[in-house]
Symmetry: C2
Subunit: 196 residues, 2 copies
DNA sequence: TGCGTAGCCTAACGATCGTTAGTTAGGTGG
DNA sequence: CCACCTAACTAACGATCGTTAGGCTACGCA
């Protein structure tokens, strides 16, 4: 076991199981079994099953937000007012986070519905804010003339669906290294919205 | 009740619930309650819960396949050996099927993991064959020089993730009619893979 | 009028769910 | 050596799961 704390080990194995079988399709005892422990033993480290889901989703969301902060800051410093550069940086950052922990990212993308009302509302608001970053860059590009699309809202959703799709097939031991995939997705994303 | 048979009514309401809460997160009694009926009453029309999921997924898969058949035949008849035309037709057909029954399509896209071994293997094989149609058109386009991309496998997966994303936000009563969305997705898809 | 039968009902089965309570074993510091 | 604490354990709770069995009711047709 490479984890520092038992709590972290629980979240890691829960991420894997939640991603494979879904939150509702995974029992506390399933998680415990993967850790060679009896079900009720987990409650020494965890207050509820939903608490585990929330920890995973919250952490993943934060990692996406922090990576996007860094990407935008660096892109704006390197080439100010260049929407292509900014969008490419956002996409690469997103794919980096995604590939660095596919399980947690997959849970973040697909299992937020299972959160309770408050947590779900909270995560939806953050997801909206995150999407708005991408849309803003698209609209900057339209204003400058480097991007063109029929509807920026549809394009934003489609772009994020495209990049999130990586969580569905990325394999850490696969043919393509993560950086190559990030570059590729940035290329596809840019072409998708670029003017002519 | 607009459905012809009770069985169809069950599948319709099950599609909605499976899409919203997932297969594992939906009980037989949940489905029955939505039909104002007691849980066990459903077993007069259904042999198991998995049987309902399989009916929904199988039917959705068939609708995608049939629509793709028609789209490719018509595109090849109208403009033979035009990969752009063929790809656009495939994308439009896909989005048409998706928007004509978002619930069933959403279940097909996300809940196939919950199928039992045989059904899951069956659906994965058909999904691979379906994806291969898109990839073939991409590679045709590369050969002719109208398309260009680093990796056709990655581009195919990304393209299908992008169009499947529509299932996540499409609203029949929303701002955009389905045909407009299909056109838009075709536009974005074509630009994503087109050569310069 | 009588008979099938279609479609629902209630009762109940064993299994499993998330979770609580109380207990035990093993290691650490005085 | 003993007190303590950590982290696991077993037992059990009420609820709910998918599913089976058997009965009641209302309608179609002779």
């Amino acid at each position: 076991m490479v984890e520092l704390t038992k709590r972290q080990a629980i979240e890691d194995v829960a991420s894997e199981l939640f991603r494979e079988h879904g939150y509702a399709g995974t029992s506390i005892r399933d998680i415990a079994r993967a850790l060679s422990v009896q079900g009720p033993s987990l409650y020494a480290h965890v207050t509820s099953k939903e608490d585990v889901l929330w920890a995973i989703v919250d952490r993943a969301a934060t990692r996406f937000e922090v990576a996007a902060d860094a990407a935008e800051a660096s892109a704006d410093a390197r080439r100010p007012r260049d929407p292509s550069e900014a969008l490419a940086a956002l996409v690469r950052a997103h794919v980096d986070v995604l590939t660095s922990d596919v399980d947690a990212a997959g849970v973040f993308v697909h299992e937020w519905r299972a959160l309770d009302r408050d947590h779900r509302a909270q995560i939806l608001a953050r997801r909206d804010a995150y999407e708005a970053r991408f849309r803003r860059r698209l609209e900057d590009g339209i204003a400058v003339g480097v991007f063109a699309m029929t509807d920026s809202a549809v394009a934003t959703s489609t772009l994020l669906s495209a990049v999130n799709g990586v969580a569905g097939w990325y394999d850490p031991d696969g043919r393509l290294p993560a950086t190559r995939i990030a570059d590729h997705l940035a290329e596809l994303s840019l072409r998708m919205v670029s003017n002519a």
